[in-house]
């Protein structure tokens, strides 16, 4: 479905350097990325801001032409066959709508049918199906500009799927949505992937999306692919461990418990990193036997911590999210 081999995208940035001189620097936004996505996969594409996520998406959809390397989507070269490819894929940008601002949603969707040349019968069927799944009925006749963000996003999803694309590319589809809308969108995407077999590639900053939906995760950092595999393996690869936060009754020297290192002391509060192999209950029992303890909390590393460690590529506790 998607085949990316050694894709590079460079941008030339001109900067003022002195009175008349302009300095040119070349930024490699995507620096030799290769991956493949098979039909029916649900892939999360992650990375910090400026890592090259959007640039990759834009190369896949034909918006940007790669500087070098090859990109093939649905067997086509996106930059050269952009219009033909547009009929085969659906694209949703969370930050901006592809609907017509002043038209009722129903008219926007009818227009989409004409643009994508969907036969009237097939359109009616799909519209009915999408209306049901995305609960569009209450606002089908409302102009798009009056829709809430969650309604608009559902409308955008419907518009991107009316032509029954093989591949759906989503750029931050849940950005700014409330909990209920997020749940509707996630539930819908899950069904779309499992029941229709639509291949889905999704970028997001919302790690809830990833944990709920994606069986496979690609992590990009500084324009390079930092990880490609399952979410579980990602957790195991970067063992962020757990952090035990102990509040002593009085400030004191670092506590001494066998097999555990104190990472930080701040007044009566101390941070202890527990590797996966250590039994937390035994540590707590050992602590309670020797020290006067006011409070104790155990923090499990979530995907955010795992990614933070992966992005940074080091394991020092300075700025470690677990040590906050």
């Amino acid at each position: 479905m998607i085949e990316v081999v050694d894709a590079v995208k460079t941008f030339t940035v001109r900067r003022r350097a002195g009175l008349l001189r302009r300095a040119r620097t070349t930024v490699r936004a995507v620096d030799g990325v290769s991956f493949q996505v098979a039909r029916g996969e649900f892939v999360g594409y992650l990375g910090p801001n400026g890592a090259g996520k959007s640039t990759t998406i834009k190369m896949l959809t034909g918006i940007l032409t790669p500087s070098s390397g090859t990109v093939r989507v649905c067997g086509m070269d996106p930059a050269r066959q952009r219009t033909a490819l547009a009929r085969r894929i659906g694209v949703v940008f969370g930050q901006r709508t592809t609907l017509w601002w002043d038209l009722p949603l129903r008219d926007s969707l009818a227009l989409v049918r004409r643009l994508y040349r969907v036969p009237a019968g097939a359109h009616r069927e799909r519209l009915a199906e999408l209306t049901g799944l995305l609960e569009l009925e209450p606002f089908l006749d409302t102009p798009v500009r009056q829709l809430s963000l969650g309604q608009r996003m559902r409308g955008d999803l419907a518009a991107a799927l009316l032509h029954a694309p093989d591949l759906l590319v989503l750029d931050e589809p849940t950005i700014g949505l409330d909990v209920v809308s997020k749940a509707t969108v996630r539930g819908f995407l899950e069904r779309l992937n499992s029941e229709r077999g639509t291949t889905i590639l999704l970028t997001t900053h919302d790690l809830g999306d990833i944990e709920r939906l994606c069986r496979r995760v690609l992590v990009i950092d500084h324009g390079r692919l930092a990880y490609d595999g399952s979410l579980e393996r990602l957790r195991a690869t970067v063992d962020a461990g757990r952090m035990l936060v102990v509040d002593l009754e009085r400030p004191g020297p670092p506590v001494e418990v066998p097999g555990v290192a104190v990472e930080r002391v701040d007044g009566p509060r101390q941070w202890l990193r527990l590797p996966r192999s250590v039994n937390a209950a035994a540590v707590v029992a050992a602590l309670a036997a020797r020290y006067a303890i006011a409070d104790i909390t155990l923090r499990e590393a979530d995907i955010e911590d795992v990614l933070a460690r992966l992005y940074r590529g080091d394991h020092s506790y300075e700025g470690d999210p677990l040590a906050r």
């Binding site: 918006i63 930059a79 952009r82 930050q95 901006r96 008219d107």
Partner: protein, 263 residues
Amino acid sequence: MRLYALLAWTWIRSAARYPLSMALLTVGVALVGALDLAGILLLFAHAPRIAGFTAAEVVFLYGSSATSFAISDVLLGTSERLGRHIREGTLDTMLVRPVSPLVQIATEDFSPRRLGRLVPAVTALALALPRLETAWTPGRAAMVVVMVAAGAAIFSGLWVLTSALQFVLIDGHAATKAVTHGGSFLTQYPMTMFGRDLVRGVTFVVPLAFVNWQPALYVLDRPDPLGLPGALRFASPAVAVAVCAAAGVAWRAGLRRYRSTGS
């Protein structure tokens, strides 16, 4: 073409949701155009000949170029918004639809008020034609049609060409306006009013002179004040084709080097 009509119709329906504002704007645009025409007529009340041209001839020049420009403006005038779409990132959403982004931008905000720009131009042309002291032949009559059509094509090409420049100069829409609106101003008056060098430059650098000056010389049966060969008078359609081809190439090249915005 079919998609152009479809999208234009969509925007008209969209605009029709505010009927009063649409009507007022249409009237406003027509009024401004009529004032323009009144200005020229007023000028002639005081000076019956400008640079050797009669009032009817000047109104003919004005009317034919204004008609060409109005047609191109109706069809492609909003293409100079490309820069804004690039800056705001909305071009990205156009690029993922199976329709040329040029068609999508050109039809944007399409409303009947755009047609308002045609009214004064066509009126001027219609007023001038019967008053011309020229010996009408089928060739001359056909030339009027050809010059308006070729002129519209040249202006359209210039819209696209200069819009394509905005792929490089993100804030270039002022530059677009200077070439298109400025060009439309130039051709509304006899070229001899302007300096010789300027006319030379305009003839060869921006082929605006072909919009109506050269063919008009044929229609009015006048010698070229610059002494350029007579064949140039029939070159308008060829120039139109060349300008449109250049515009097409520039647009494609621009799309290829489009960099999008962050996010």
